[in-house]
């Protein structure tokens, strides 16, 4: 197990290095630093200020080879954009935003709270609703209940997420007046009001796919011999479905869940952006809109790190769910 983990971590590290190289090519070759500087500083800016900005943000160095230093000098390679990019990312020293000079790590820390506030209830509720509904329809398989839920799922999956958001804001926020249309306030007396609608919409957008996926797995299990044996031994419906079917169907379910956990931290782009929740998803959207390359690089990098973490966690979780699986 330990050897396996070490190997996986090593592979993961190599993948990170590759991602960073890709990021470098994407971000440092497509735009001129002067363009970023003009965008950040505005229209009425003298050339000296632009030059100073480029130096302050470290964009003045050569890309991969600094020919100002001698061939034997390490600085020939280390005093470059590429090296600096690797050093910063690997040491989590993300520097300052290209758009407004604010420290990126501060923004990440500030965004994690609202993001988790949205994603944790969304994830938990989505999982519970998805699993419960899937167990329910698997139990009533091939009845009109099963078929109507499946049709409902297909309908839910066919509607674009954006429509849920706009429709939800209109229906729930404006017409029914249950929750604020959008916005955010961390004040404990009101924060739940702001999160309720996005969580509700998030669950609605996700449940169609989840229910169909879990149902298929559960159906596969309900046909197995052990289920018949359990029934024959007099186990009740609830006990069969929850203790036996659910437990044995955990592996594919776990893959789905554990892969999702790391991304709870990065927030939900659309929901955060449309509801004005200042989480990490909103940070990403804003970085894209505002040509804030340094923030965007960081967010892509963190996304990659979390993805790799998610994969490793999934593998480990298999052994916990099924003692027969050994990682070597």
């Amino acid at each position: 197990m330990v050897a396996y983990l070490v190997r996986r971590l090593a592979y993961g590290f190599l993948t990170v290095l590759g991602v960073l190289l890709l990021l470098f090519v994407l971000f440092f070759t497509v735009t001129e630093p002067e363009d970023i500087a003009r965008k950040a500083l505005g229209e009425r800016v003298p050339p000296e200020a632009i030059a100073q900005w480029i130096v302050n943000h470290g964009y003045d160095k050569p890309a991969v080879l600094n020919t100002e230093h001698a061939v034997t000098d390490v600085k020939r390679y280390s005093d470059t954009l590429l090296f600096e990019h690797y050093r910063r990312m690997l040491t989590f020293d993300f520097g300052r935003s290209d758009a407004d000079d604010a420290p990126i790590s501060g923004r990440l820390l500030a965004g994690i709270g609202p993001s988790l506030g949205l994603t944790v209830p969304l994830f938990t509720l989505g999982l519970l609703v998805g699993l419960a509904l899937a167990l329910f329809v698997a139990f009533f398989r091939e009845t009109y209940i099963d078929r109507s839920v499946l049709v409902l799922c297909m309908l839910a999956m066919s509607v674009a997420a954006l429509l849920y958001i706009i429709g939800g804001q209109y229906l729930v926020g404006l017409l029914l007046k249950w929750f604020p249309i959008s916005g955010y306030d961390p004040d404990p007396s009101v924060v739940a009001r702001f999160l309720a609608l996005p969580v509700l919409i998030g669950v609605l957008t996700g449940f169609g796919g989840d229910v169909r996926f879990y149902r298929t797995i559960f159906l596969e299990e309900t046909g197995r011999d052990y289920v018949r044996t359990a029934r024959a031994k007099g186990a009740g419906d609830m006990r069969v479905m929850v203790r036996h079917v659910l437990r044995n169907a955990l592996i594919p379910v776990l893959t789905n869940i554990v892969m999702a956990i790391p991304f709870l931290f990065t927030g939900v782009l659309l929901l955060e952006s449309f509801f004005g929740i200042p989480g990490l998803g909103a940070v990403t959207v804003e970085a894209i809109q505002g040509n804030d390359f340094s923030t965007l690089r960081t967010m892509v990098y963190i996304g990659a790190l979390l993805f790799i973490t998610g994969q490793i966690l999934t593998d480990v979780s298999y052994t916990l769910a099924d003692p027969r699986i050994r990682l070597k």
Partner: protein, 660 residues
């Protein structure tokens, strides 16, 4: 049951209930300002904060129009005095008892028990030195070059920093001191300072009514340097104003809280008491509440700004009563405004609508350096520009794109400014395609064909705005010109590339707008003065218009008081523009703002910055109306629950019956 309990606890009120009876004004912002540094901030979002956090030496009278300067932090509005050396000087004497907002930066330099200090004349001098410092990058730096030694002080700083790295590393207030200060800014003791000018500049006092010249604490600039976890000065304003910035989270919320130590609470300065004089009709029309007159300012305890990136949710929250005032979104315009008045439904809710033409001008410009449309083409190009001007119908443009919000412009001077003539009709701004076609024939471009070469004339409309809405707007102009046979191509690039094109002079036709800094015709007419040409000085004359007669008239007019003689000169200048057509004047923006019944003193600010100290609200009325408008509708939830039971129950029954 659970759902019912949850719904019972539900509310769409985005604010804590505890605030409902407090005098808190709720408003919104779209993007956080890039900077709140008073020397640099130049956007309307920033001014919503800076104009309230920073006091100025002078202010505009809230109720008088045309605008009138009144003393703010100083005892009186200074008059020009001629000094012994022949220079014109203005002497400002500070009021007593003005103190900066309590802040950690003072503790750092003056000890644990000193969280604030009194404002001194030297704080004004420090602010002016920052404006002169090229590293601060103030947008108004060149506007103060009339101050003796202002420009050379900046140049001196730059060269000293270049020569001596250790000098460049010192805190700026020490650098300024070592550079000797600005000769034209003289500090006499703690309470008086004087501005001496190299040349007369009648507009100089207006700059003392803007936050750019607010007294600035050197401690704040030195302390808030962005290092060791400290904020940047650009995000942490330390002023003296009636409000202080109590919370500043760029992602979702700013809060201005009333400053309990404000000088106005202890003095009878004109800017600290609600004015009794002003336009007579403002009380009658309801934009001023008669009960406010003579009361001490400010009325509000807090101003809360919430972030709203999208205009429709913002407007909907306004309709729910959660914002006290709002702009009208395009999509809802017809349901809010009918026949140029508030619709009956909105009037029934007690709303008020105020319209005000803003001191702005939007125009299509020709790059006069261009060989085809510019001055090199002589009479031919002039007639081409005149013909193109005759083709553009600003009224139709406004109907199509702004719901008619705007006044078609006949000249560069908007209403409300000295020199604006409401009766004037510019002969080239009355849409007339026949006359335009005739002019094209005279220019040798009949039907868009160059008579000299026989080839079609090709022109480009350059823009850095890539949104689809903007493209539609440009297409409107292009279609108008197409009716004359002119082939104008739209060249859309991103904003940076467009900027680069403008710097290189590689553009032909463009649109731009201007918002006045102060209420003087000079602030519009200078946009076409040759020394401000973009191609030579990076100035705001983006048309690169250069006309000796215009320049001469401008120089004579700029420092004159508003006399008939000045009006005569302005008429002559406008005649030159009318004939030469470097611009096709499009419109002056008109602001339609909605406010709820509980908001008082909503007189449009127009040119002055939004000073919340004059605004008042009735929180009890607000809470009542909000409650009535926002009772949650719960029956659909019960209906849904019932529907589910009705649908599922027979299935259950059948299933278990069959299993039996």
């Amino acid at each position: 049951m659970l759902a019912a309990t949850i719904i019972a606890a539900c509310s769409n009120n985005p604010y804590p209930d505890a605030d409902q009876d407090a005098k808190v004004l709720y408003t919104s912002f779209r993007e956080a300002p890039r900077t709140l540094d008073p020397a640099v901030a130049y956007t309307s979002t920033a001014h919503h904060i800076t104009a309230n956090v920073f006091d100025t030496a002078l202010e505009y009278h809230f109720r008088k129009r045309p605008y009138e300067l009144i003393p703010g932090l100083v005892e009186s509005v200074p008059s020009p005095e001629v000094r012994e050396d022949g220079r014109i000087a203005y002497r400002f004497t500070l009021r007593e008892g003005i103190r900066f907002h309590a802040d950690a930066c003072f503790v750092r330099y003056h000890g644990q028990d000193q969280r604030t200090r009194a404002v001194q004349a030297s704080d004004f001098a420090f602010a002016l030195m920052r404006l002169a410092d090229p590293a601060v990058n103030s947008p108004i730096r060149s506007s103060l070059f009339a101050v003796n030694d202002f420009k050379s002080f900046g140049d001196r700083l730059v060269s000293m920093r270049m020569q001596d790295k250790s000098f460049a590393g010192l805190p700026v207030h020490e650098q300024y001191e070592m550079a000797g200060g600005i000769d034209g800014v003289l500090v006499h003791g703690t309470g008086t300072f004087e501005i001496a000018l190299d040349q007369p500049d009648a507009q100089i006092l207006y700059w003392f009514a803007l936050p750019f010249t607010t007294p600035t604490a050197w401690e704040a600039v030195a302390y808030y340097d962005g290092n060791e976890g400290r904020e940047r000065f650009a995000d942490h304003p330390v002023g003296t104003g009636p409000f202080r910035l109590a919370a500043y989270d760029k992602q979702y919320r700013f809060v201005l809280a009333a400053n309990e130590d404000w000088y106005g609470l202890k003095s009878a300065a004109p800017g600290s008491i609600f004015p009794s004089e002003g336009e007579a009709h403002d009380i009658a029309s309801g934009v001023i509440d008669a009960a406010s007159v003579g009361k001490p300012l400010p009325f509000l305890k807090r101003v809360e700004f919430r972030r709203e990136r999208e205009s429709i949710p913002r407007f909907n929250k306004f309709l729910q009563g959660y914002y006290d005032a709002g702009d009208i979104v395009k999509e809802s315009f017809d349901s809010v405004v009918q026949n140029d008045r508030l619709s009956p439904e909105m009037a029934d809710l007690g709303m008020k609508l105020e319209k005000a033409a803003e001191p702005t001008v939007y125009y299509i410009g020709f790059n006069m350096d261009d060989p085809v449309v510019g001055r090199a083409g002589g009479d031919r190009s002039r007639k081409l520009r005149q013909a193109m001007s005759l083709a553009i119908d600003a009224e139709r443009y406004l109907k199509l794109f702004t719901n008619g919000r705007g006044v078609p412009a006949q000249s560069v001077l908007p209403p409300g400014l000295f020199g604006h003539d409401a009766g004037y009709r510019n002969p080239y701004r009355q849409p007339d395609l026949e006359r335009a076609a005739a002019l094209l024939v005279e220019a040798g471009y009949a039907n868009g064909i160059d008579a000299e070469s026989g080839a079609p004339l090709k022109l480009t409309f350059d823009t850095g705005n890539t949104t689809s809405q903007a493209k539609l707007q440009y297409q409107f102009h292009i279609n108008a010109w197409r009716k004359l046979g002119l082939d104008v191509q739209l060249a859309v690039t991103n904003y940076n590339q467009f900027q680069a094109k403008v710097r290189r002079g590689a553009y032909q036709i463009f649109t731009w707008g201007w918002i006045a800094d102060y209420p003087d015709p000079e602030n519009f007419l200078f946009l076409l003065e040759s020394s401000k040409a973009r191609s030579e000085s990076e100035g705001p004359n983006t048309a690169n218009f250069k006309n000796a007669a215009y320049d001469r008239l401008f120089r004579d007019m700029e420092d004159m008081p508003n006399t008939e003689e000045r009006r005569r000169l302005i008429v002559q200048m406008l005649e030159i523009l009318e004939r030469e057509r470097p611009w096709i004047e499009l419109y002056f923006r008109e602001n339609y703002s909605l406010s709820h019944a509980w908001l008082r003193n909503t007189k449009p600010f127009g040119l002055t910055y939004p000073t919340y100290k004059y605004v008042d609200i009735d929180p009890v009325k607000r809470a009542d109306l909000r409650r009535g408008w926002n009772a949650p509708v719960t029956w659909p939830l019960y209906a849904l629950a019932l529907l589910v039971i009705v649908l599922v129950a027979p299935g259950f029954a059948t299933f278990y019956r069959e299993r039996q």
